[in-house]
Symmetry: C2
């Protein structure tokens, strides 16, 4: 059995390019007792993977050069010597960027039976969805009376944050980089959406959308978005820091906003977090989110690239704003 | 009875100058029933007052132009028509920047009888001391195993933060702007002190002082100090933001550090706070601090300017690093 894999060919500086990736075929050995063979059907590309392409002081180790990359994927067991995972089982796994792989089951989870399309477990009801959930509830301690500003509001995490905050009773303002995405985010229920590429001054636009000020800024972007949010946040505002995508590909680190003193004068809380620390909430989250999806209260937008050899293009597309909602690769 | 007062003559841009202040004498009316006449003996100058000299979106209203300024002071009741405050009572008040004033008692507090010099109630056992206390315990949730970095470590708040953290069992690193201050902070028990004016790279100096990383950064300064702290903080590190004195007099707001993404990757919590929100802890604080002072476990350094007409010079001196410990004016 052959496995088609994408390896890290070189570490990017600035925006990743096709040259950083290479397509490789490897031969898999025969299954041993306790092992299963998985055929991946979907894989996820996520902005955080950019951090793993370089050597840094981050929360997860970097990808190895000339080794297969990793990431969330959904697959089907096609051969099994493990009773827990019979042939035909649908599993989520962290062995993306490859068509097939062998596992002893330790890194597999059977998909919960909540009646949603399997690829949703890479998005709205998977890691990105849980990231939005814990950012709002655990980190920002969301209250129904809050006005919430979500940057990258049409992205995998942002689009879920918008919808969860609306379901919680909040007023929600999103920011996006195109009118098309603005329409999509409005359709998800956002009270106002700012196309940041079209406004002269993001602070003014945000003030106009939220004359009462914002209470929570769901931080996906950094830079000018953080600056505007600090300006418009109300006293005791909270900033769950999910990511700062503006910084991921900067060849020279960009200076931060010049108004950080507002953290003091407005008594703000800025808190970085990482979803791995909150996996104990996945059960509760899946139950609630599964219900919301089947009731039509949460919708899931997906942008799909076909074929493993287009995975690098899909990944690079994340930083070019090519995805609406969750960016996926169908294998 | 005349009151000698310092009024705000104009609002500063950049560093305050003598021209922003003017010395005024006003005649006080006769006491009404329930009122007392206070003679101030000590007044405090604090960095936060810079924020009140301009019109901004801060937590306290700005000083009025051509009106007397305000601030913490200690005084003695010299005439009384209020049984709660008989003649001779020592009181803390917020009517600094003047020699005498009339009060109905609502803004006065009798000095607690803990046997320390009265001017300490403007410093180590007053607002600056409580600011250090709540920043470490309430905001940063200090643990004895933490390594703590305190900027402006010889200042009124910083010097208390250093000593409290040591008493709690922590390893403490301070930063100061002169060798003389470094000696003073070492004498307070700091494990290492960095003279930031003498090091080429603050991050390197901090890493050398804390090869194990820091867990808490007590933020008084901003700018390069925040950048270095972010670099050296351990995962789940905490930054209580007491102030950012580097920004107070900037004529053009300075960009923030270029490594804010570390808030996310290290899962840091950056939390602004203001001591007014924690006055309910003052009783517990005074009891503990009074004991520490009388036992010689906490020392208090004070820099004293004599005479109300030198108050502006004392205040400006805060931003020129002229104080060791608490900057006071003896009236």
């Amino acid at each position: 059995m052959k496995s088609h894999q994408i390896h890290l060919a070189s570490r990017p500086t600035g925006m990743p390019t096709q040259e950083n990736f290479k397509s490789v075929e490897v031969e898999l050995p025969a299954l041993k007792e306790g092992e299963v063979l998985i055929q991946n059907t979907w894989m996820s590309v996520d902005p955080y993977m950019r951090g793993r392409m370089i050597v840094s002081d981050s929360y997860i180790p970097p990808f190895e050069l000339n080794e297969v990359m990793e990431g969330g994927a959904i697959g089907e067991v096609i051969e099994s010597k493990n009773d827990q995972f019979p042939v035909g089982s649908k599993v989520s796994n962290i062995s993306g960027w490859r068509t097939t792989f062998i596992s002893d089951g330790g890194d597999l989870a059977l998909l919960p039976a909540v009646g949603v399309p399997e690829q949703h477990f890479l998005g709205v009801i998977g890691m990105p969805g849980l990231t939005a959930w814990v950012g709002l509830f655990n980190v920002a301690k969301l209250k129904p009376t809050d006005t919430v500003f979500v940057s990258a509001a049409s992205g995998a995490v942002g689009s879920v944050a918008v919808q969860i905050a609306k379901l919680h009773g909040c007023k929600v303002i999103g920011s996006v980089g195109s009118d098309e995405k603005a329409e999509a985010v409005k359709a998800m229920g956002a009270d106002a959406v700012i196309n940041y590429k079209k406004v002269e001054n993001l602070t003014d636009a945000l003030r106009e959308a939220a004359p009462e000020g914002i209470d929570v800024y769901f931080e996906n972007v950094g830079g000018d978005h953080l600056e505007a949010a600090l300006n418009v946040l109300n006293p005791y505002g909270r900033i769950p820091v999910c990511g700062m995508i503006a910084d991921y590909n900067a060849e020279t680190p960009q200076p931060g906003p010049n108004n950080l003193l507002l953290i003091n004068t407005k008594k703000l809380t800025v808190q970085g977090y990482i979803v791995m620390d909150y996996w104990d909430q996945y059960g509760e989250f899946v139950e609630q989110m599964g219900q919301w999806i089947t009731e039509g209260k949460v919708t899931s937008e997906e942008t799909v690239y076909n074929g493993l050899d287009n995975a690098a293009e899909a990944f690079i597309g994340l930083f070019e704003g090519k995805n609406k909602g969750k960016m996926l690769v169908k294998i």
